[in-house]
């Protein structure tokens, strides 16, 4: 996926940016006047992304600030009213889930109950936007210096975590799970689609941020070398991070498995009044069969309460996205020694990564705006960035409401996926066929002094567009086949997630999200065509 799709498309975007020396709107308009819509679509997608992405930073801030308490607030359940036991919701779910769903999000049972804006996440969101504003205030030059910090620090933290993770008890279980190939999963096309989408997102293709950054490069910059290096570093970082993730995951799974076993042991010891310490993990199965044969009646009473503990099922509980960071990881961290240190370090790293992503997104929005002569003559750079941050912050307050996480999931799943695929497809076709591959090749040669390798040409012209089209078809067929879209809602009485259907207005919002970015391309093309026709209608008398 990386070699076939990621590297060629990354090189393409960097080359376009470097050659056209403008943000995404101007760059595509230079390639062909009808294609200014591509840049606009990129900008719309980046705008959606920056609106909802910063709430993750807000949550990271929230957890970071709460890491300086002893004990960690998500490691213990709060007490109920008469102090005889723990809060009921917390008992049913786990303390980390309770902290996430109740204390952080204060989530409502469904997307219809919007609730009020929660002031704590709202404050953290405002802080997150202030930090982003601070970094982009002076434009891309200052952003470049900040990025040295935000990009390198996570590596340090990852190395520290690697050492800590590998020395944890049970880490090897996780690593073994990661490295054993699951062949039946590989045969599933969904896995390949996810891999392709992952490459898109981690490289940041189609957002316009790459074009924006590349436009600040020197024309003679060797962007081919940079494209290869960047994509290789990106993928090796992903592998490195997944080693760390899986070792900690293995620790958590082993810990949960062992505590599950201990619960079963305690239950059996108490029900049958066995000697304390007699039952251990090793003789559990033998004793169970012995008890079953000797006291069948009592055993069948106890059987429903006994959970079937399995290490494999613990490892297989795949979680991704915000759930992974804030629930699974905090659960693993709370069991480590000196958990405050690990927690603070982890959320600081998350914050650095998140702010780094935000800088790219906002650069993608700001560069076209500042390139535009009309806007930049009226307002100084600081005011434009301030305005963008302010508007995004106000819209982002929607995600701090009680139903905010459901809206966040909508944005997360639908705002970018389809639109990005289409944008990158149009980009590739535009450069190869509309602008002309040979013309682009000679441009690059004149600019960088290096001839274009046949591999890149083959990829750009043939393989990558076909791949993207097939991905697109898969996605559409997947959406059509599953029927009504559903989401996971948190049920406080049961203490777990339940599946619900989206109400019609949520479906309308989803449709609007996808359509608004995709429609830019044909609409702008149509608009330019009409303007040209009108102009041609005006000019004949002059000619």
């Amino acid at each position: 996926m990386l070699i076939v799709e990621g590297m060629p498309l990354l090189y393409l975007e960097l080359a376009v940016g470097q050659r056209m020396r403008q943000g995404s709107i101007g760059a595509w308009r230079t390639i062909s006047p009808y294609l200014g819509g591509v840049g606009l679509a990129s900008m719309v997608v980046s705008f959606f992304l920056s609106t909802y992405y910063n709430i993750i930073n807000a949550w990271a801030f929230w957890y970071l600030f709460h890491s300086f308490q002893d004990p960690l607030p998500w490691s213990v359940c709060p007490l109920n009213d008469n102090h005889t036991g723990y809060d009921q919701e917390c008992e049913k779910a786990s303390s980390t889930q309770y902290f996430w769903y109740r204390k952080t999000l204060n989530i409502s049972p469904s997307i219809q109950d919007s609730g009020r804006v929660q002031w704590e996440p709202a404050l953290c969101l405002i802080l997150a936007w202030l930090v982003v504003y601070l970094c982009i205030l002076r434009g891309t030059e200052s952003t470049g210096k900040v990025v040295y910090f935000t990009a390198l620090l996570p590596y340090c933290v990852l190395i520290i975590y690697l050492v800590r993770g590998l020395t944890l008890h049970g880490a090897t279980n996780g690593l073994a799970y990661m490295f054993t190939p699951k062949l039946e999963q590989l045969a599933n096309p969904k896995a390949w689609i996810n891999a392709a989408t992952q490459i898109f997102f981690s490289l940041g293709l189609g957002f316009g941020s790459l074009i924006a950054f590349a436009s600040y490069n020197e024309p003679s910059n060797n962007c081919q070398k940079h494209a290869i290096i960047v994509s290789l570093i990106n993928s090796s970082t992903s592998v490195f991070a997944s080693i760390v993730t899986f070792s900690i995951y293995g620790f958590k799974a082993t810990f949960n498995y062992e505590s599950c076993l201990n619960k079963v042991i305690l239950l059996l010891t108490n029900s049958f009044d066995l000697e304390d310490g007699f039952l251990t993990a090793s003789n559990l199965e033998q004793v169970k069969s012995y008890l079953e044969s000797t006291f069948p009646g009592k055993y069948s009473e106890v059987l429903p309460q006994m959970k079937n503990c399995s290490l494999q099922s613990e490892l297989a509980t795949a979680v991704q996205g915000t759930g992974l960071s804030f629930i699974v990881y905090t659960e693993a961290i709370k069991n480590m020694e000196v958990s405050q240190l690990w927690s603070a370090l982890y959320f600081f790293m998350l914050l650095m990564l998140g702010i780094g992503s935000m800088l790219g997104n906002t650069a993608a929005i700001l560069t076209p705006l500042t390139d535009n002569k009309v806007i930049s003559s009226h307002l100084p750079k600081e005011a434009i960035s301030g305005l963008v941050c302010f508007v995004n912050c106000v819209i982002g307050l929607v995600f701090t409401m009680e139903a905010g996480n459901y809206w966040f999931d909508i944005f997360n799943e639908y705002a970018a996926t389809l639109s990005l695929l289409l944008i990158v497809l149009v980009e590739t076709i535009a450069v190869c066929y509309v602008y002309g591959l040979r013309r682009f090749e000679s441009d690059l040669k004149a600019m960088t002094g290096r001839a274009l390798n046949w591999y890149w040409k083959a990829m750009w012209a043939g393989v990558s567009p076909l791949l993207i089209i097939s991905l697109f078809v898969f996605y559409l067929s997947d959406y059509i086949l599953t029927g009504t879209l559903q989401y996971q809602a948190w049920d406080a009485s049961q203490g777990q997630l339940v599946t619900k259907d989206y109400p019609p207005y949520a479906l309308a919002v989803i449709g609007l999200l996808v359509a608004s970015s995709i429609m830019c391309i044909p609409l702008v093309a149509l608009g330019t065509f009409i303007m040209r026709c009108l102009k041609r209608g005006d000019t004949p008398p002059v000619a």
């Binding site: 801030f61 929230w62 600030f65 709460h66 300086f68 308490q69 213990v76 709060p78 007490l79 102090h83 005889t84 036991g85 723990y86 404050l123 953290c124 802080l127 202030l130 930090v131 504003y133 601070l134 205030l137 002076r138 010891t269 108490n270 009044d273 066995l274 000697e275 304390d276 310490g277 100084p380 750079k381 600081e382």
Partner: protein
């Protein structure tokens, strides 16, 4: 006669203390879980200590100060270690109400636990819920303190950057006009040194001396 009385007393005792009897409580200890290698064996001496602790707890209840160790009856000791106990009144005919025993044990739970090196989880009194320690809540939540500190730092940094940006722009826009002022002054005051006016030396721009050709033109192109 004495033997009969003795049997009668033990029979009554046995009746008073039975599993699921009225006012009886089950106790469960997990000594090996709590202490590991340092676990002690549960024998009659430990039972005596337990009876003493229960009697001590009951003595703290108003108008039960005369409770003796012999009033606490233990029965059905299993290997687990678990057993049932009741507390009788001085006449040894009735058991004390469960509510009194419950409140007495709850008040002195900590001391009973410490006597056996155990805690609420490893020394369980079934049906007597333990009062859990409420988490210490500082008056101002810690996270707000840290939040305000970082918030103030960020706002100060933003303001500094904005102000320095404004100052830079103002300096740039004032810059060319300042240069003009000094040159006007020079033109007004023609300084004369050694009879030669300094005017020609102050002209801006200067003239290109053709004698010094630029490097590129000297070399013939390839």
């Amino acid at each position: 006669m004495l033997c009969l009385l003795f049997f009668l007393v033990t029979a009554i005792h046995a009746e008073l203390c039975q599993p699921d009897a009225e006012n009886a409580f089950k106790v469960r200890l997990s000594i090996r879980t709590a202490l590991g290698d340092k676990a002690y064996a549960w024998d009659t001496n430990e039972e005596y200590l337990f009876k003493a602790m229960v009697a001590f707890s009951m003595r703290k209840v108003p108008n039960r100060e005369t409770t003796e160790i012999s009033h606490v009856l233990l029965c059905n000791v299993t290997q687990r270690v678990s057993f049932w106990f009741v507390v009788t009144d001085p006449s040894k005919n009735h058991t004390l109400p469960a509510v009194e025993i419950q409140s007495a044990i709850r008040m002195n739970r900590n001391r009973i636990n410490n006597a056996f090196f155990l805690n609420d989880q490893t020394l369980e009194f079934l049906k007597i819920p333990s009062t859990l320690a409420p988490p210490t809540d500082p008056s101002v939540p810690i996270w707000i303190i840290i939040f305000s500190v970082i918030f103030c730092i960020v706002i100060v940094a933003v303001l500094l950057l904005i102000l320095s940006g404004i100052r830079q722009r103002r300096r740039k826009s004032k810059g060319p006009s300042e240069v003009d002022d000094t040159e006007d002054k020079c033109e007004n005051m023609i300084t004369i040194e050694n009879g030669i006016p300094c005017d020609p030396l102050d002209t801006k721009g200067g003239h290109i001396n053709d004698a010094f050709m630029t490097e590129d033109e000297r070399l013939t192109p390839l």
